[in-house]
Each structure stands twice: as C-alpha cells, then as structure tokens.
Amino acid sequence: MPEITYREALKRALREEMQRDPTVVIWGEDVVAYAGGGAYGVTAGLAKEFPGRVRDTPIAEEAIVGVGLGAAMGGLRPVCEIMTVNFTLVAWDQIVNHVAKQSHMFNGQIKVPMVIRTPNGHGRTAATHSQNFDAWFASIPSLKVVAPATPYDAKGLLKTAIRDDDPVIFLEHLQLYSTRGEVPDEEYLIPIGEADYKRRGKDLSIITWGRMTIESLKAARILAEEGIDVEIVDLRTLRPLDVPTILESVRKTNRAIVVEEGWRTGGLGAEIAATIQEQAFNYLDAPVARVAGLEVPMPYARNLERATIPFAEDVVEAARAMMRNEY
C-alpha cells in the first residue's frame, strides 16, 4: 500500500467527499490563499479544484462555527476549520450552547451535519497555543468527537464524519500532520464509535488516542524487548466512547494504563479509569494508572515544554512500574 502523510490523507478525504456531495463546503481562516491553503496545508489546492466551495473567513471563530451551524441546518454539510484547538475557546458558546443542543433540545426537528476540524498540540508555541481540550469536548452530550492517530484512520474517519448527520469535532494534531502511514487508494470508511487494537498483547492494556497512540506504539516496541507484551487500544472516537472494547481488553490483560496528552485532572483518562473500575472491577490486578500531561500552562523553553508532555519513555516507565507491582 502506498504511504502518505496524515495531512495528505485528510486532504484526500475532503476531496473525495466534495466530489461525491456538492453540499460539502470548507470554511475557515486561511484555507484558500495563505501558504497555498491552510495554516497546516490540509486544504492546499482544494479551492482551485472546487471553485466557490472553499472560502476564507474572517478571524471570528464564533462566526465560523455559528455560520457553519446555520448552513448545516439549512442543507449544507460544512467542514469548518478552526486553525488550532486553542481558538475553539472563542467559539465555545456556539459549540456547547448551539451546535450540541439543536437535535435534542428541538426534539429531532433540527439536524446539524457539520464537521469542526481543529488540531491539538504543541510545537514551541507556549501556553496559549499548546493545549488539548479532548476531555472538554468529550464531556458534551450530543457531540461526536474523534481523534485519529494514523493517516489511515484520519482519512476514513473524516469521510465518515462529513457524511454523519450529527456535529463531529474532528481533533487532529500538529505533531501528526507530517507522519506517514499506509492508505489504500480504494475508498473506505471507518465507523465513528469504534476503537481499534493498534497492537495485541497480553500483559497490560494501554488505552489512548491521537498522538499518544504513536508514542505508545514506540513504547510497546521497547517494552517487548524487555518481555512486557502490551496491548494498545486506540480509541479513535472520544465520544461516544467504545466502552465494550476497552473492557474487552482489560478483562483479558487485567491491567490498564490510560495515556493522554492533556491535563490529568478531569481528563478523559479519569473517565476511562472510572468506567473500568465500575464495569471491570473484578478483572483488575492493579489500580488503573494514568500517564498525562503535567498541569502547568505550557512553557516556551524547549526543555520545559518537553518535560510537560508525555512521551514514549513515560509510557515505558509506567508499564514497567505496573509490571513490577509498584502501582
């Protein structure tokens, strides 16, 4: 299979869906002109291919989301790009009070087939530009939240998200755009709400998503050399959670580490750990452990930034400690 980047996989998904459905439009800051298309190049070239359907917007995230919402209500399938997840905060009222309320509060009279694409992450960009809000989005009823880790998943999930009749928060990651992976030329879709075993193992379950899936896979290779055989459950969808798959894995291995990039307090890891102990208590051979980002506003300095974010080595350390019965 040909290898392409995560960025290219996203673009192919957008292109295929725009070819398939004329109501699909792309709106966002700098998705047309700047640097050839998109702050991170995802939409490069699409404006030329699809005249009038890819449009630059004002820097007004509340309006990008709000106008996208109204357009979705009115019959379009907008893909709204918010340049980074940090700027979704400006649109938080629109997302929580409007996008996520329509279908249920109006008793099924209104549907909102829109996608909000935005990247998590960091890159020496300091506190206001280096954040993860996965847990916040994932706590909101009626949203669907996905966070693919690989080019394959990114393409399949974005296509599904665009076709979905519910609003989908599509969380990308700055550090993943240039990663490569196999993506077939043939069309495929990946269902929302299904986790994926990125590695099968018997000793402990690592439950993770997004960039931390990649770090966890690196960790798994190191651990394998030490005789520790980890299983990696890549959630892919953060809401609704694929609880059955999480439980299936934990019931097999009897040990779980939840690995997330964001802050520990109130993180999605807390929800997953709680769910495991509620529903698989009798299968646990150790407390559910968490690997998470340190709880500080992200500093700019290289060494401080690196100390704040979890990497493969942190996963390795946690896994070793768990196998040594230290938790």
Partner: protein
C-alpha cells in the same frame, strides 16, 4: 391589504396579548416554571414581519419568542403545552418557553444566549444563497444583543458575503434592566453604518410600518442586494421576565408608552377609522381569542408529561452502535440510567 388580512393582523396581535396575560397567570399559579419572557407591547413586530415574509422564508429569534411562534402559525395549544412542559408542546416539553420551534413552518427556533443565534441566522442565509432557494432569513434580536461579539461577527460576515438576511432589532429600550443609553455607546443605526449595511428605523408599535419595512428588506435580499438592518423602536409592557420587579422603569414612562399600544392603535387608527369593523366585531374577536387561549390552557393542563423513555431520543440523529453514555448503556432512566451500573444489567 384587504379587510380580512387586516383583521387577521389584529386578531394575531390580540391573540399574542391575551396568550401572554394568561401565561403570566399560569406562571403565578406555578403551572409554568423557569423563565418566562412575555411579548406584551411588541406584538406588532412579530405579526407585521411575518406577514411580509413567504411561508418558506427562514425565521430565527431570541428567547422572547411566544409572539413569533404564534404569528408564524404555531397553535396556541402547542405553545401553551410547551410552556407547561408537556409532550404535546412544540418540542415535546424539552425546550420550554425560550426554545419554541417549528421547522415545518421554517421557524428555526428561539435562542436563549444573547446574540448566540446571529451567526446561525447568517448561516441559514448562506445555505439559501448557496443552494439558490431564494429564501430570505429574518433574524430578530433585542437591543441588548447589539454589543456582543457575535453581533459584530455576524454583521461583518453578512455584509462580506452579501447574505440574504434581515436583522430586526426589537429595540424595547432595555437590555434586561439596563437602559439603552447605559449599555450602548452609539445610536443603533450607527452600528449598521459601521458595516455599510442598508438600515431603517421603524416604528415597532405600528404593525403596518413593520410590515412595509420588512417587505422592502426582503425585496432587497431577493434581488441580491444583501443584508438589511431594521431598528424597530418598541417597548415591553411587562418586566424582562416574570421574576422582574420592574422597578428601574418609571411608572410615567410605562404609561407614556402604553398610549402607543400597537393593538388599540391599530384598531382605532386603521380598523375602526376606515370603517372596516365595528366595536361589536372587535368584541367578538376578543371573545374568540379568549376562548382559544382558554382552550390552549385546558389542553396543556390535560396533556401528559413527556415519557421518561424518550429522554435519550435525538441525542444523536444518527445513533452509534453499542453506544454508552457516561459509561452506562443507553437505557430509560427509570431502569437506572443515572446510577452508574456495573455492566451487568
């Protein structure tokens, strides 16, 4: 307009007035809970504006939405039942007073976050533009919403993309309890001027003036001339909501505005003056309106509450297989949905 149409305008305004007075009574009797924002005094705006639009034009309004729902043709029964929180209400008791809706009538709902619905209205306009439906979107708001960020973002976007949208400011002089001169730096029309948007100031207590202004704005939008901004000067005869002691407005001020009551004015200056109706006709209309509202109250009171089993309906329009919410399998709440289960049912 012909006689029947004019009488219809009168009847709609009166229906809203009587409906709101009885709603206040039902609130005081604790039949209605939460927030209740009444439309008394502003009836001419909803009735006049709706009369100027096509049935498939889009309407988006704020939380003071009973008048709009009734003017758009929602039954008094459905609206009252919604206020009562009953299964027969416009959203089956989910949205309540502030979130009435009827998409079959292109009434896209009442929105309760000040200014929150403005971008959404622009989006409906963009969709109509993109799909070439020729529909116009009317978006009403209070004067208080013209200071928030979404107002400016929406105004800018509407003008930038030449969106067929009509912004109607129901300028009742108060943002909740804060007077216009206390909350706004500039006169209302200056805000439209900032975006070089077509704007008019309208007597919001004259149903014909409202109707004509909206007709002009809709015509412009349909002809590709983009958005309009209509500052409709009006006054609410009651407090902001039922919880408002209404102490910040002087009795004299309220009395002065009451002299311009849109309903009696329309009766006196149009219907009676032109000899279209007699006082007896008007009395008969009032009697029929009172009966309609009484019927709505009886209907609402006798309607069932929504079934608990429906609680998770429409969480998603496209459900996900094997979905759990909050770690629990989706199930009717009486089976234990709120209590975290152990996975064994």
């Amino acid at each position: 307009m012909d006689r029947e149409s004019l009488i219809s305008l009168y009847r709609q305004m009166l229906l809203i007035r009587v409906f709101e007075d009885r709603a206040a009574e039902m609130y005081a009797k604790a039949k209605i809970a939460g927030f209740l924002h009444l439309y008394n005094g502003q009836e001419a705006i909803a009735v006049g504006a709706v009369s100027a639009l096509n049935p498939d034009d889009e309407i988006v309004v704020n939380y003071r939405d009973h008048g709009w729902a009734l003017a758009r043709g929602c039954s008094a029964r459905a609206v009252m039942a919604e206020l009562f929180g009953r299964a027969t209400g416009t959203t089956g008791g989910r949205g309540g007073s502030m979130h009435l809706v009827d998409v079959s009538r292109h009434f896209w709902g009442g929105y309760a976050i000040v200014g929150g619905h403005l971008p959404l209205a622009v989006g409906l306009g963009v969709a109509a533009q993109y799909l070439g439906t020729g529909r116009v979107t009317l978006c009403s708001m209070g004067d208080g919403s013209t200071n928030i960020g979404t107002f400016h973002a929406a105004m800018n976007w509407a003008k930038l993309w030449n969106v067929p949208v009509i912004f109607v400011v129901e300028n009742n002089q108060y943002a909740m309890g804060t007077a216009y001169e206390v909350h706004s730096a500039v006169p209302m029309l200056t805000k439209a001027a900032g975006y070089d948007m077509y704007a008019e100031e309208v007597d919001g207590m004259d149903v014909m003036a409202v109707r004509e202004a909206v007709c002009r704005a809709a015509e412009r939008a349909r002809n590709g001339l983009g958005p309009s901004f209509l500052n409709m000067v009006t006054y609410r005869f009651r407090g902001h909501s039922m919880a408002d002691p209404d102490v910040q407005r002087s009795k004299e001020e309220i009395a002065e505005w009451r002299k311009r009551d849109p309903i009696t004015r329309f009766a006196d200056e149009v219907l009676l003056k032109r000899g279209l109706v007699t006082q007896a006709d008007l009395d008969a209309i009032r009697k029929s309106v009172e009966e309609e509202v009484e019927d709505a109250i009886q209907f609402a009171d006798q309607s069932p509450e929504p079934p608990l089993e429906s609680l998770y309906d429409y969480i998603y329009m496209q459900p996900v297989s094997n979905m759990q919410i909050g770690g629990s399998l989706i199930r009717p709440p009486k089976l234990g949905g709120r209590v975290a289960p152990n996975g064994k049912r």
